[in-house]
């Protein structure tokens, strides 16, 4: 699978030809600086477009059209990448040889997306219909409130808000519920026109067609889409403060949820990025990690305790569900495991496990069209020029002292805890909780 890059329409196409899959995937995305308002507008625009278009004027007829194309899928994408957002559509359908019939399924899917994008249902003033927009606004507000009431998600967001205060990444993902309700059909219609030309489109294809054939399809259906190329905004990279900040909220749940953020001035193009990938894996990335072995297995303090690495922000987040009374002990244990890595207490065995684990994940991602697409799209947008093999080769040469050096650039930045106010009884009271 050799990536082929070429211009297509007003944008760029990356085509990855492979006969491995029974489906084809083509994504269309545009990347622009993110803000809570832009994200809410984009989310409302996409959900409104999915409600129908002139040739398929409601959800049922639009869905029937896609089902006739052997259950083709058009789903929306709102991926934050650094301080930008990659917003667009996934078009996925069965490969032609897998379906019974003559219709070109990918062509049919792109034709449907074209109609959704260019023939939306508007009222006499050229605005989206008020009733449709009102329902979508209410649904978006419900989704915002749902996130705020999910203790695990809330702990993660709280940690980010404090850790990245004053930076784009510290802003809430959406406008507040009150501000969303103030958005008008006219606002969405204006954003719709802006979106069509907001930046240079990126098309990524994974499937059995030649790049030239994909380019022809793009130029047939989306010749006018997109505008000028925008420069990718590198997110702010900062060191952690001298002392870790702690923040706590309460929720009516049994189990406390903890998110602990570590931060370093290691950006996406920093030479220590690969060592940081290994650092994260050794710290909490797998069942062989220090967090799994010590916090869960040795001390039975939780069911899950793991870490994830955000390479665009130089941040590592640890998440765990714990009993309230174990909060101090768990924070101390997490910090102590990180210090262990800083002090170079990494065995050859841990380093080897970490390398093999990442190599396995990278190679496994080659078996999914969605993973392949995401790998390349994220790197094109971030300006990182690497393949899956590049990552594996880079990791091979990293040694323990490289990981310890990367760890020493990190500090514990923020700990967010959601205290469960129902804790203490052990379980919900079955008799009093249920009503028939």
């Amino acid at each position: 699978m050799i990536p082929v890059r070429m211009n297509a329409g007003r944008g760029k196409l990356l085509a990855l030809k492979t006969d491995k899959f029974k489906i084809e995937l083509l994504t269309l995305s545009m990347t622009f600086p993110v803000s809570p308002r832009k994200r809410s507008l984009c989310s409302l625009l996409f959900s409104t477009l999915k409600r129908g278009c002139v040739p398929y004027p409601d959800i049922a007829s639009l869905s029937r059209r896609l089902d006739d194309l052997y259950d083709a899928n058009i789903t929306t994408m709102l991926n934050p990448i650094g301080d930008s957002i990659s917003a667009g559509f996934f078009c996925e359908c069965l490969a032609k040889e897998c379906a019974r019939g003559d219709e070109d399924l990918l062509g049919g899917t792109l034709d449907t997306l074209h109609k959704m994008l260019y023939e939306p249902l508007l009222d006499g003033n050229g605005s989206f219909r008020e009733k449709t927009v009102e329902i979508e606004k209410k649904n978006l507000c419900d989704s915002v409130r749902a996130s705020e009431n999910d203790p695990k998600y809330r702990a993660a967001m709280l940690c980010r808000e404090v850790m990245f205060r004053g930076e784009v990444s510290g802003l809430p993902q959406h406008e507040s519920v009150e501000r969303i309700m103030e958005i008008t059909p006219r606002d969405i219609s204006e954003f719709y026109r802006e979106y069509l030309n907001i930046s240079e489109p990126l098309f990524v294809y994974v499937g059995s067609r030649d790049a030239d054939e994909v380019k022809s399809l793009i130029e047939e259906y989306f010749p006018e889409l997109g505008g000028a190329s925008l420069e990718f905004i590198r997110p702010e990279i900062k060191k952690a403060p001298a002392e870790m900040r702690q923040v706590e909220e309460e929720m009516a749940v049994l189990q406390g949820k903890l998110t602990m953020g570590f931060r370093a001035d290691i950006g996406a193009n920093d030479p220590d990025r690969y060592a940081t990938m290994l650092l994260n894996e050794i710290f909490g990335g797998s069942p062989a990690s220090k967090l799994f072995k010590n916090v869960r297995e040795k001390q039975s303090l939780c069911y899950s305790c793991s870490s994830i690495y955000n390479y665009n922000k130089g941040a590592i987040f640890v998440q765990s569900g714990i009993s309230n009374e174990n909060k101090v002990r768990v924070i101390g244990e997490i910090a102590s495991q990180f210090d262990d890595i800083k002090n170079g207490n990494i065995s050859e065995y841990e380093l080897m496990c970490a390398k093999r684990s990442i190599e396995n994940s990278v190679r496994q991602s080659l078996d999914s069209p969605y993973s392949i697409e995401h790998f390349y799209r994220a790197r094109i947008i971030s300006g990182i020029n690497e393949t899956q093999d590049d990552i594996i080769s880079a990791l091979e040469n990293i040694e323990k002292n490289d990981v310890a050096r990367a760890a020493s650039r990190f500090g514990a930045d923020t700990c967010a805890f959601i205290r469960g106010t129902l804790a203490g009884g052990g379980e919900y009271d079955e008799e009093s909780e249920y009503d028939e």
Binding site: N149, P287, Y303, E359, N360, Y434, E436
Partner: protein, 435 residues
């Protein structure tokens, strides 16, 4: 048995094939070669959370065990007698390992892109060599206690179990797969050994491998790791379940923003014959899709009027002795949605579905099956499900091809009666709607 018996199973419709090996150890092995980087292996036993009262043929008395023991046993299998942990061993080999327990199955698995032979050896070895001590059992009670707490805080999980409690009066399926903090406190090493001895007999298990491998490679590892054991006949005691539901409505209040609901519809005509169950499963899934998918008029009506705010997720679950449909969603007023859904189903049972909608639905099911063939994980997990259910894996696509609207309507009209419905809803703590 002294030799391995190998049979190739093919689908001319899909252009796919796999090998079924009756291994000399007594284990059924299935090898599905695919041109992927990943190889995915699942080794499972036909034993799950509902199997809490059992005996072997010839035993006088039944053994009754605490709820949650199948899941507990799954957790404990990763610890070995020499003090090593199989999770770590897989990490050392660069593989991802995991395990899960359902109502009637316990599955151990790994996926890897290298060291396949060593990984498969480890899988076959740790699952067949139990080692439990009082200390390790006590330690696991703490970990699983936190797992139970985690699931108890999930409104979706509570709503789903509320639905099962509403559907079933006696059947163990209504109980949490993990058990409760109280029930797992009664688990001992002796009980774990007993369950392992009975249910982890190779005649009650299956191994499925999909990906970058061959039948010869898998057989050679099995030859090294597995020795013959006499097959056992397990007798599972089931309580009689009435045909009506235990309760038509349940609700609880939790920390969440908007009410969620699970509507359950009890299937009281589950066929004993696996082939008939498979047909029924497909027919019921088609019915649910015709009623609840986005292409249907009911979804449009509920969504456009603001009664629901997201997709309605529906599924049909069936196994020997039980079957039910579940419809899940979010709504300001779940009771209103529930009433409208019941009303609509009564209407549709009378008037039926159109041939055009049925044909479209057939296409969707076919495409969904074909999509699954793009993933070693999906193939291996679906195949082992089919094996334990006694279904024919490729037969699924054939049934989709040949099933008629008439047959689907017959099954629809013989089920979904009004006394088979239950609603489980979870409301926010501060919700204005009072019980």
């Amino acid at each position: 048995m002294t030799n391995n018996e190998i049979k190739t199973v093919k689908s001319s419709l899909l252009g796919e094939e796999y090998q079924h090996i009756k291994h000399k150890s007594g284990l059924d092995i299935y090898v599905y070669p695919k041109n992927f980087s990943t190889t995915y292996a699942v080794f499972g036993t036909h034993y799950g959370s509902i199997d809490n009262c059992f005996k072997l043929e010839g035993d006088d008395e039944y053994t009754t065990v605490p709820g949650g023991i199948a899941h507990f046993l799954e957790h404990k299998m990763f610890t070995n007698e020499d003090g090593s942990d199989s999770f770590e061993r897989f990490s050392e080999l660069g593989a991802d390992a995991n395990a899960y327990t359902s109502y009637d199955k316990t599955i151990f698995l790994f996926s890897c892109t290298s060291n396949f032979r060593e990984c498969l050896s480890e899988l076959l070895s740790f699952v067949t060599h139990p080692y439990f001590t009082k200390e390790s059992v006590a330690k696991e009670q703490g970990i699983i206690g936190e797992e139970i707490g985690m699931y108890d805080d999930m409104p979706n999980n509570r709503s789903y179990y509320g639905m099962l409690e509403g559907l079933y009066c006696e059947h163990d399926i209504k109980n949490n797969i993990c058990g409760t903090v109280q029930s797992i406190s009664r688990i001992t090493p002796e009980l774990l050994y007993r369950c392992h001895e009975v249910f982890y007999n190779l005649s009650n298990m299956a191994l499925v491998v999909c990906g970058n491998t061959t039948a010869d490679e898998v057989i050679s590892v099995a030859d090294e790791q597995l020795s013959y054991k006499a097959p056992v006949k397990i007798i599972k005691k089931r309580t009689d379940e009435p045909s009506f539901v235990a309760s038509s409505r349940k609700e609880r209040k939790m920390q969440l923003a908007k009410p969620i609901f699970d509507i359950g519809i009890k299937d009281t005509c589950v066929p004993a014959e696996p082939i008939m169950r498979e047909r029924r499963e497909i027919a019921m899934s088609i019915v649910l899709d015709l009623i609840f998918s986005q292409t249907g008029e009911l979804f449009s009506e509920l969504y456009e009027s603001g009664m629901i705010s997201s997709l309605l997720h529906c599924s049909y679950t069936v196994s020997e002795g039980f079957g039910f449909c579940a419809v899940t969603g979010e709504a300001d007023d779940p009771d209103k949605v529930y009433e409208r859904i019941k009303e609509y189903i009564i209407e549709k049972r009378k008037e039926g579905f159109s041939e055009e909608d049925f044909e479209r639905c057939r296409k969707v099911f076919y495409a969904s099956f074909v999509r699954g063939l793009d993933s070693a994980e999906d193939i291996a997990e679906d195949l082992i499900e089919h094996i334990f259910d006694g279904y024919d894996y490729f037969g699924y696509a054939d049934i989709i091809n040949e099933i008629s609207l008439r047959e689907v309507m017959e099954i629809f009209r013989s089920s979904f009666s009004e006394d088979c419905f239950t609603l489980s809803a979870v409301f926010p703590f501060d919700d204005k709607k009072e019980e």
